[in-house]
């Protein structure tokens, strides 16, 4: 069975399950909205200040919100023991991983698209740098969070406190990516510097962690 076909099969199933339950998307949307609104009222920043802090607030809110989706995505496989059926199936294990990563990426990207106008309104944002770079940073940054998050969610799936374990493992590992995302976003919003180096760092981070996750996922799936 080809990898692409198996990935498409897993992806279609995950999208269909989320479309019906809306568990992950609703929780993420509610959480990010809450953070954006609460911070906006708590600090009431001026336009200049907003450009400095918006990157940090936005990405941290999305990181916390993504944890919900990441935990949900594997919890589905544990319910009714479906993971055992997947372990027995001859389809490539990496296809399951990639299908989940792409599905989670779609969910988080959808939240980003929904939350961005709210963010712009509440923080009086206007991009001074180039807008296409912001889209690139969003894509690379989201992939960095999701690929790591999906991998470590799979790793912690059988632990008793998996909801707690995932952020404990994920946050330290994601720090370089988070730093690059925040710095690149701030540079783009303020227009003070060109964020090329941060974008390169994000790209390298994505390539390295995607490769490592793909190499190790089969052993994690096969673990008792």
């Amino acid at each position: 069975m080809s990898l692409a076909r198996a990935v498409a099969l897993h992806l279609r199933k995950d999208l269909r399950l989320e479309w019906r339950s809306k568990d992950a998307v609703n929780s993420m949307l509610f959480f990010t909205l809450l953070v954006v609104v609460v911070f906006a009222f708590a600090f009431d920043p001026l336009a200049e200040e907003s450009r400095l802090i918006a990157g940090g607030i936005g990405w941290v809110a999305l990181l916390f919100a993504a944890i919900v989706a990441l935990n949900q995505s594997w919890a589905r496989e544990l319910r009714n023991g479906v993971l055992d059926a997947l372990r027995l199936a001859p389809a490539p294990a990496n296809a399951l991983f990639l299908g989940k990563v792409i599905a989670n990426f779609v969910f988080v990207a959808a939240i980003e698209a929904l939350i961005t106008p709210v963010f712009v309104v509440f923080y009086n944002l206007r991009i001074i740098g180039s807008g296409w770079q912001l889209i690139l940073v969003a894509g690379l940054g989201t992939w960095a969070l999701i690929v790591n998050g999906t991998f470590f969610a799979a790793l912690s799936i059988r632990t008793r406190n998996r909801e707690l374990m995932l952020p404990l493992i994920l946050f330290p590992i994601s720090l370089p990516a988070l730093l690059a995302m925040v710095m690149a976003t701030t540079n783009i919003l303020t227009g003070e510097r060109v964020p090329t180096d941060w974008i390169k760092l994000l790209a390298v981070y994505d390539v390295v962690f995607t490769a490592v996750s793909l190499l190790l996922f089969e052993s994690i799936l096969g673990a008792e």
Binding site: R79, D84, A85, P90
Partner: protein, 240 residues
């Protein structure tokens, strides 16, 4: 009716071993779920695995399926030592349904049929027909199924790979008498077409007409193997 795809040329495999277990032990911490268990299960037969709760039946089935590794001993399934090489030829039905509640029966089965692409398999329609669920409303999610219907669908899922070895853990739980009879006949037909079937059950009457051998487990090991149900009873505490 058994659809094409299940083994029909099985004269030689009757003589071969589907499962060879040598000195299998499985420890969970200090608790030994299985203890120095050795057995050979020739292919093409239907085995009823009996035993009280905690006797190690489910652990044994999971080890045969390759879902758990023995702490000691070697397992050879369908002629291979490596579980990954044989997993596609094994049908496994557990206590849980191994299905997604938010999908319909067809969506669930299509998904699993897709995962066996390029392998020997049957269509979702065929597997639904085999368990008598072909006329259920196709829009109905399985979260709305009765427990018995879920069990039959779980069996249908285990059959999509057209397995050479079928491992069933309590397949008759919560199933009505008519469906038990139909499932039992189906298992007999599968056996007749060469599939090796291992069934864990507390409802011995369900497999009385089809079981070739009764294997009784107690305290993590096999204590009796009988060709008939007589004498295959569960031993009392302390008896072995």
């Amino acid at each position: 009716m058994i659809e094409p795809g299940f083994n029909s040329e099985n004269d030689n495999s009757q003589l071969q071993a589907a499962v060879v277990l040598e000195g299998i032990s499985k420890l969970f911490g200090r608790f030994a779920a299985l203890h120095d268990l050795t057995a050979i299960l020739p292919a093409g037969r239907l085995y009823a695995l009996l035993g009280e709760n905690g006797a190690g039946k489910t652990t044994l089935l999971r080890i045969i399926a390759g879902l758990a590794r023995p702490t000691q001993g070697t397992v050879r399934v369908l002629g291979c030592n490596v579980a990954r090489n044989t997993s596609a030829r094994i049908g496994y039905m557990a206590h849980a349904t191994l299905l997604y509640d938010d999908l319909t029966a067809r969506e669930n089965l299509d998904y699993f049929v897709g995962l066996y692409s390029g392998q020997q398999r049957i269509s979702s329609q065929e597997s639904l027909e085999m368990v008598g669920l072909e006329n259920v409303d196709p829009r109905r999610r399985i979260s709305h199924y009765s427990q018995g219907m879920k069990q039959r669908l779980a069996l249908a899922r285990a059959l999509v790979s057209s397995p050479d070895l079928l491992l069933l853990d309590e397949p008759f739980s919560n199933v009505d008498a008519k469906s038990i009879s139909a499932m039992s006949s189906l298992l007999g037909e599968l056996r007749d077409h060469g599939t090796t079937v291992v069934v864990i059950t507390h409802q011995v009457e369900a497999v009385v007409g089809v079981a070739d051998e009764w294997i009784t487990m107690h305290a993590g090991t096999i204590v009796r193997r009988n060709k008939s149900l007589q004498g295959a009873g569960i031993p009392r505490r302390g008896e072995q």
